[in-house]
């Protein structure tokens, strides 16, 4: 078994707004192994991005990690001082963002944005060569000319590639990818996914890949966590999540994907809307929208338990019903 590069335990992140504290990430535990691509999927506002930002310590506004441990190679990142954290950022953990339009500095050339991220001691010339090399690695054509270009002279896909090149400049061992393909059109999405896969093979980088696109996740990830209302509802190898979901929410997500084979039928959608943070009651957060909800579900949140090898789910009804029942009750074959 490969060693764990990142181990997140009982992570809890809260935001202070108008004197109230809203918990947006609650009791999130997962680990990422060396060279693994770990996916986090879920609807908007489920806490995927906040989880990523909590790991690298870049929460927006009044966000604050209030509980749990984030162990990177055995070091708890929460206990590090800002100076020490800055050493980890870039050279150990890198991050790429959703919007390539707004993630690059508009008034600094792409080349300088790459070279300033290179941490190793080298001359300016070596840094420039390294930057060109990185641009070539991520598939930016004629990097020698484009090194002096600005972000607005790049297309969306090229900007995303440039962003990846910048994130790779100091050779991070773990890359946090916060919906890097969401803002791109499908062909470019495919190219970026292909690029990330290639990078994993070439430099053995681990990755946390956040997305709400199930198709993208299925293409890229080894293991997937499904988040809902700040909690992980299910973690399993990617194939298991898609072929054999064990949580009603995951199951609902799968059914909500349009398919050519069910053309003409009414597309399934999970009824209701995700809960607003702060409005959660005691029970399972999904219970108000769940087809299988019982009195018990409204009273307490079930633990994340291992149902089969490597497949964890947070549902108390699964043992009683079994997946066969899910399928029968919801009329899906």
């Amino acid at each position: 078994m490969k060693e764990k590069i990142l181990d997140v335990r009982h992570l809890r992140t809260e935001f202070l707004t108008e004197g109230k504290s809203l918990t947006t990430v609650n009791d999130v535990s997962f680990s990422v192994k060396q060279g693994e691509i770990f996916g986090i999927i879920g609807e908007s506002g489920s806490g995927k991005s906040v989880t990523c930002r909590s790991i690298i310590g870049l929460l927006k506004d009044k966000g604050c990690v209030t509980g749990g441990e984030i162990l990177y190679k055995g070091i708890d990142l929460r206990k590090l001082k800002l100076k020490e954290m800055q050493k980890i950022r870039g050279s150990e953990i890198g991050m790429i963002f959703q919007e390539p339009m707004t993630t690059l500095n508009p008034v600094v050339t792409i080349g300088r944005q790459i070279t300033e991220a290179i941490r190793e001691k080298m001359t300016k010339r070596e840094k420039t060569e390294r930057a060109i090399e990185l641009m070539r690695l991520v598939g930016i054509p004629s990097p020698e000319e484009r090194i002096n270009a600005y972000a607005h002279q790049f297309s969306g896909g090229m900007r995303q590639r440039a962003m990846i090149a910048i994130a790779l400049a100091s050779g991070p061992k773990l890359l946090l990818a916060d919906e890097p393909t969401t803002a791109l059109d499908v062909t470019i999405q495919y190219q970026i996914i292909h690029l990330l896969k290639e990078l994993r093979q070439k430099i053995g980088m681990s990755m946390i890949f956040v997305t709400h696109d199930l198709g993208v996740a299925s293409q890229l990830c080894d293991r997937i966590a499904v988040m809902y209302a700040g909690r992980i509802m299910e973690i399993a190898p990617a194939r298991e999540i898609f072929m054999n979901p064990k949580h009603p929410y995951t199951y609902g997500l799968m059914r909500a994907v349009p398919s050519i084979y069910r053309k003409g039928e009414k597309l399934y959608s999970i009824e209701g809307t995700p809960p607003v943070p702060g409005s959660l009651s005691e029970g399972c957060p999904f219970s108000p929208r769940c087809d299988f909800c019982e009195e018990e579900c409204k009273r307490m949140i079930p633990e994340l338990t291992e149902e089969s090898a490597g497949h964890y789910t947070r549902c108390s009804r699964i043992k009683k019903l079994g997946l066969g029942t899910y399928k029968k009750v919801s009329g899906y074959e």
């Binding site: 800002l82 950022r89 870039g90 890198g94 790429i96 500095n105 300033e116 400049a169």
Partner: protein, 312 residues
């Protein structure tokens, strides 16, 4: 090459604007009742004396001819003498412009010194006590007319406590500087309030941009992130705003120079209008318009140098 073509185009565009300016000022001046010759000779002047004076000043020619003579002078930059001051206008303008330009320069120095540090501080410490205070204070200075600010400063710092002179220009360099402080502060309070608010808003906006977080995720030190990512993106719009205010300051110099009795262009123009000194008023307004247009052009060009996204 593109830049050159652009600048040439802009210079050519100035010509029709300048022609309109000459029409407005020439005919506008003559629509105001009053006769410079009558003002010079007094009410009891005889008709012959008046006619002689008119001929001497060239006012006996038809209006259109007078206008075209003025237009010719504008093209050749040959403005003749002032009627009231009996001095070459070019010479007068040079003398007075030195004062007005020093005033504007000093105002801008105050502007930058006040607005940049405070704007950045307020943006970075949004909703802190100082931020809330400065934000309301700046609103006050934006809304109060300049002459009132000037008079209050004058009362407090020149009349009550004799820190600064009440007015005038002084005779030595030190006195010049001392007499410029209050007037430039008066002009700066309003503009720097505007610029400070602009910088504050932009700091808040830029700090929320993904590229700032992305820079941090590269492991860059905070000071570097703030200098290269926040400051650069904040100062570009601030520089433009300041440059745009500069032209407004030139216009505002009329009021400020009157309050502080500074013998600058504003004062000279005011006196010239009151004395119906047609040639002086026409030449000053024409040169003013020219300066404003050139400054606007410089602003636009500098903007494209500062911000790579802006193409000329």
């Amino acid at each position: 090459m593109d830049e050159f073509v652009y600048i040439l185009k802009r210079i050519l565009q100035m010509i029709p604007v300048l022609i309109i300016v000459t029409v407005l000022i020439f005919f506008g001046m003559r629509m105001i009742p009053g006769d410079p010759a009558l003002l010079m000779l007094g009410n009891r002047a005889s008709d012959e004396a008046l006619a002689m004076m008119h001929a001497k000043l060239g006012f006996d020619k038809p209006l259109m001819i007078q206008y075209f003579l003025f237009l010719r002078d504008c093209v050749l930059f040959r403005f003749g003498d002032s009627i009231t001051l009996r001095m070459p206008i070019t010479e007068l303008f040079k003398q007075k412009a030195a004062i007005t330009i020093s005033l504007t320069a000093m105002t801008i120095i105050f502007d930058v010194l006040i607005s940049v540090p405070l704007g950045i501080y307020c943006g970075m410490h949004k909703d802190s006590k100082l931020d809330t205070f400065l934000n309301s204070a700046s609103l006050v200075f934006v809304s109060i007319p300049e002459f009132l600010i000037g008079l209050v400063l004058l009362m407090l710092l020149a009349v009550r406590i004799h820190v600064f002179p009440v007015g005038g220009w002084g005779n030595s360099f030190g006195e010049h500087i001392r007499s410029l402080i209050l007037p430039s502060l008066t002009g700066a309070l309003m503009t720097s309030s505007l610029v400070m608010r602009n910088i504050r808003e932009n700091v808040i906006k830029v700090l929320n941009m993904d590229y700032v977080d992305f820079a941090r995720s590269k492991g860059l030190p905070e000071i570097w992130v703030r200098m290269r990512y926040v400051l650069r993106n904040v100062l570009i719009p601030a520089v433009t705003l300041l440059a745009m205010r500069m032209t407004a300051m030139l216009a505002g110099s009329i009021v400020i120079e009157s309050i502080f009795a500074l013998p600058g262009i504003g004062q000279m123009m005011l006196n010239a209008i009151l004395a119906r000194d047609y040639p002086l008023v026409q030449a000053t307004v024409y040169l003013f318009a020219l300066i404003v247009m050139i400054m606007n052009l410089i602003t636009d060009v500098s903007y494209s140098i500062l911000d790579p996204r802006v193409k000329l």
